[in-house]
C-alpha cells in the first residue's frame, strides 16, 4: 500500500472515530438517564405536583413541565415578532443601508452574551425596574432576549437562501417588494424559519441561568399567571440535584427534559428536509 493511500485511510478512520464518539456520548447520556431515571417515570410523576419532605423527594413534576412550556411561550412572544422583523430588514433591505452591518455585528455579539448576564439584565429591567417581581413574565423576557439572536440569524439566513431570481422576477411584474416578500419569499423560507424558531425553543426550554434570577421557584402551581413565579424543568432538576433531595427524581426529570428537547430537534430536522424538498421543486 502506498503512502498516499495510507494517509487517506488514516484520515477516513479519524472521521469515523470522531463521528462515532459523538454518537456514543449522546447514546451514553440517554442510556444513563433511562437507566437511572426511567423506573421513576409513571403517570403520577408526569401529572402530580412535587410532594414529600424535603419537597420533591416524592410526587411528580407536572408544574415544572407546565412552567417550562409557559416560559417558552413568553420567550417566543418576546423574540419571534422582533426577530422576524429584524431578519426581514437585514435580508431584504439591509444591503442598502449602512446601519445593517452594525446591526449584524450587534446581533452576533448578542448571541455571545453569557445567559446569566442576560438573566441579570432581565432581572434589573423586569423584576426591579418594571416591578414585575420574580415572575413568569420576567423569565420569558430573559429567555426571549437570549434566543432573539438565534431567531434573527436563522430567519435572515433562511430568507437569504431563497433564490434571488424570485425577487427579481416578481418585482419585474410591477409588484412591490413587500408583496413579493409576502407571497413568494416568506412562504418559500417558512420551513427554514420554523426550524430556527424550534431550535431556539429547545435552547430556551433547556436554559437554567436566565430563569434562576428572574422566574423560577422551588414550588409553584405554574398557573400561567404572568406576575407569579413558576417552576421549570431545568431549575427543578438543579434543585433536586444540588440539595441532594432525590437523585432518582433528578434523573427522571432530566430524562423528561431531554426527551422534550429531542422531540423538538427531530422536528427541526424534519422541517429542514422539507425545506430541501421545496428547494428542489
Amino acid at each position: 500500500m502506498n503512502r498516499r493511500r495510507l494517509v487517506d485511510y488514516v484520515q477516513l478512520g479519524f472521521y469515523w472515530l470522531s463521528g462515532l464518539s459523538v454518537l456514543l456520548v449522546l447514546l451514553a447520556i440517554i442510556a444513563y438517564l433511562v437507566w437511572r431515571g426511567g423506573p421513576q417515570i409513571n403517570l403520577e410523576f408526569l401529572l402530580e405536583r412535587p410532594r414529600g419532605t424535603p419537597l420533591g423527594s416524592a410526587g411528580g413534576i407536572f408544574p415544572a413541565i407546565k412552567g417550562t412550556l409557559w416560559l417558552v411561550f413568553w420567550a417566543l412572544f418576546f423574540s419571534v415578532p422582533s426577530g422576524l422583523v429584524t431578519a426581514v430588514f437585514l435580508s431584504e433591505y439591509g444591503s442598502r443601508w449602512r446601519i445593517a452591518g452594525l446591526l449584524n455585528l450587534m446581533i452576533q455579539s448578542m448571541a455571545g452574551i453569557p445567559s446569566i448576564i442576560t438573566g441579570l439584565f432581565a432581572y434589573a429591567l423586569g423584576v426591579v425596574q418594571l416591578g414585575w417581581g420574580i415572575s413568569l413574565l420576567a423569565g420569558g423576557l430573559a429567555l426571549g432576549i437570549m434566543i432573539f439572536p438565534v431567531i434573527a440569524v436563522s430567519t435572515r439566513d433562511a430568507l437569504q437562501a431563497v433564490d434571488n431570481n424570485y425577487r427579481l422576477l416578481a418585482c419585474s411584474l410591477g409588484v412591490s417588494e413587500l408583496y413579493a416578500l409576502r407571497r413568494i419569499i416568506l412562504p418559500r423560507a417558512m420551513p427554514g424559519i420554523l426550524a430556527g424558531i424550534l431550535l431556539a425553543t429547545g435552547y430556551a426550554a433547556g436554559a437554567t441561568a436566565p430563569i434562576m434570577v428572574t422566574a423560577a421557584a422551588i414550588i409553584s402551581s405554574s398557573s400561567g399567571a404572568i406576575f407569579e413565579p413558576v417552576m421549570a424543568l431545568p431549575y427543578h432538576l438543579y434543585i433536586l440535584f444540588n440539595e441532594h433531595i432525590s437523585m432518582d427524581n433528578a434523573y427522571a426529570t432530566a430524562l423528561i427534559l431531554v426527551v422534550i428537547l429531542l422531540i423538538i430537534n427531530m422536528m427541526v430536522l424534519w422541517l429542514r428536509s422539507w425545506q430541501e424538498r421545496i428547494k428542489q421543486k
Binding site: 418585482c171 411584474l173 410591477g174
Partner: protein
Amino acid sequence: MNAVEMSNFSAWYGRKAILDNISISFVNRSITAIVGPSGCGKTTLLRSINRTAEMEYAFSCRGDLQVFGKQVYQIKEVDTVRKQVGMVYQIPLALPLSIRENVLFGPRYHGIREQSRLDYIVEDCLRKVALWDEVKDRQCDAAGRLSGGQKQRLAMARVLAVEPQVLLLDEPCSSLDPASTGLIEELLTSLAEDLCVVIVTHNLFQARRIARQTLFMLDGSVIETGPTDALFSNPLDERTRAFFSGLIG
C-alpha cells in the same frame, strides 16, 4: 415610432462603468436583437430600461432614457415602469405557485378581482404563449413541474398578463432545446405585431431569424446598429466583423 429611446445613457455598479454613453432607440412593433460577448453590458442595458438594475447594490446611472416619450428615471412609482416594460430572464423559473397563480401574480396585485376577468386573463395569456392546450386541465398544479420550455413560455404569459408595451428578453432560449426555441421564436414574431420586443441573444442565427434590427455591443458601448440583414452581410465596423466571424466572442 420609437418605443424606447436612450441618449448618452451611462450606468455603473459602484465605480465600475457598465454602460458607456449609449444612444440607441428601439422601434415599436418590431423585434430588435442585442448581440455581443458575455459581460458587455447587454443584461444591464435591459435591466436599466425596466428599472430592475437598481435592485442591485450600488447601481447608478446618468443620461436620458425614455419609454413612449416618458423619462423613465423621473417616474416616482417604479412599479408603473416595470408594469409597462415586461422582462423575461435567462433562467426558466416559475414562481412557487400554481400555473394559474403564476399568470395572475401581477394582475391580482394590480387590483383585478373579478373572477370572470381573471379567468379570461389566464386563458388569453396562456393561449398567446401556446401553453393553454398543454395545461388547461391542470392549471392548479404546481408550476415547478413544467419543463424548461414550458416554464419559459409561462414566464412570458406572466409578463403579458400585466399588459406591457415593451417586452425585454434576456437570452430566453439559452437553456432550451431547439423545438422549444422554435416555438418561442414564433411567439415573439407574433407578439411583435403589438409590442416592442428586445431580445438579448448569444445565438446569432436566432438574431438573424427573428430580428428586424440588430445591435452589436462591446465593453459597454454600442458599436454598430442597423437592419439585421445589412449588419450581418456587411458590417461597417472592424470589431463587428470580427465578432460575426467568430474571432472575438
